[in-house]
Assembly symmetry: C2
Homo-oligomer: 276 residues x 2
Amino acid sequence: MGKRIAYLGPAGTYSEQAAREWIEKAILIPVESIPAVANAVSSGIADEGIVPIENSIEGGVTFTLDLLIHDSELSICGEVIVPIHQCLMAHNKIDLADIKNVISHPQSLGQCRDFLTSKLPGAELTASLSNSSAVQEMMAASLETAAISSRRAAVLYGATILLENVEDRSNNETRFVVLSHRDHEPTGNDKTSLCFEYGGNAPGILSGSLREFASRDINLTKIESRPNKKSLGRYVFLVDVEGHRTEDLVAESLDALNNQVSMMKILGSYPSAQRK
Amino acid sequence: MGKRIAYLGPAGTYSEQAAREWIEKAILIPVESIPAVANAVSSGIADEGIVPIENSIEGGVTFTLDLLIHDSELSICGEVIVPIHQCLMAHNKIDLADIKNVISHPQSLGQCRDFLTSKLPGAELTASLSNSSAVQEMMAASLETAAISSRRAAVLYGATILLENVEDRSNNETRFVVLSHRDHEPTGNDKTSLCFEYGGNAPGILSGSLREFASRDINLTKIESRPNKKSLGRYVFLVDVEGHRTEDLVAESLDALNNQVSMMKILGSYPSAQRK
């Protein structure tokens, strides 16, 4: 039996595409939200779950970051990078000038803002809760309604693609992480994700903490801050470093950091993704 | 004549509330997007513009951060902190059990997730492009439709409030910044916002840069990273420090930082907000 992988559905989302790239012959289980992906793994319905964590244009996916910080005891065991290409689609072939309304997720509308302003200046914009639901809503609306979504969603729901690659910036990629009960054993080309928080006023002492990595020649590949959700201006920091948590220098720097913070959580060590 | 202040409309948004707190007797000009606020100031239609930059639960407002980094030559001349309280509203008094659909901005739906799951488990959720448009759409829909929005939007559009403070966390605040052609003169209780980027692999050398502030006893009150929009894993850092850019030690540390980075932009010095 193949591995069971939960992802943010419905079918046709970029999360489904990431899951198919992670394991080709997996049994894919669509669920309705990012927390539900984690729940599916925690409860044993799925072996692993895949969630978006960062987009090259829009930045961190806050639902996922907050889940990892506050609400999940799962580990990251892998990552997948998926190029994002948005398509404009409708019921049938239609002139752009005849399009009265465009439905998509607000983030996708944002990624295509210049295109919409220049090519569809008169069209009304309507928000939908996912790229896939946008296509379903479009197919239930008038013939003068269009949607912005993935090529696969167009195929799945029977829409006609009018234009491909309508995103404003061509270097649009999303990084997904794979959640499991355990992280990954060392492979020699790994990274480690962690988060931490200070008891006192935070960013003033951050530079000292980051030196624990720099002084051991450990490269940081990412740093991000999220509100700690208790008080405006107080943050949890999320950091990715090169190397596996079981390597001596990485383990040393994590120990040293742990002595400076009020909370530290190692989210997992896993192989660095190769771009396709 | 009062100052003309552009804000993200329509009337009834939290941005309007921030503008009214910033200057009580201003002439308020609602515009349709965050970039349009900046354009209104650049073009002279407004004297100042007010935009949300950070929420205590959801984190940075990416549209505003990216505008400040990439697309605007305006300066920050002030900040305002507004407590956010969400209300559930409908056409008339109605039992929660009879609500079939709830309309709101996806971020507001996210802020009320626990409430919606526990009290309205059967209701369908519908996305809208702003909290105010959600109320207008609700008033045009069936009597069994509800919206989540501000108290002021309920008053403006004639909705009936069913429940107040339906947000999951009570410490929900948004920080707004005021954009102008110039920043603010020193007051003795100021902060300075800036952004910078490295030419090479970024976060590895960040700790050294932050030491320029720490070694001069300048407190960082915020650090955040945004994608540089050219390549996944490359970032622009946004930092707030205590003090005015014309103070000696602040000016020294900014000079030192400027020598280490490929891009630095001082977004402005302005008085720290007092919470009401």
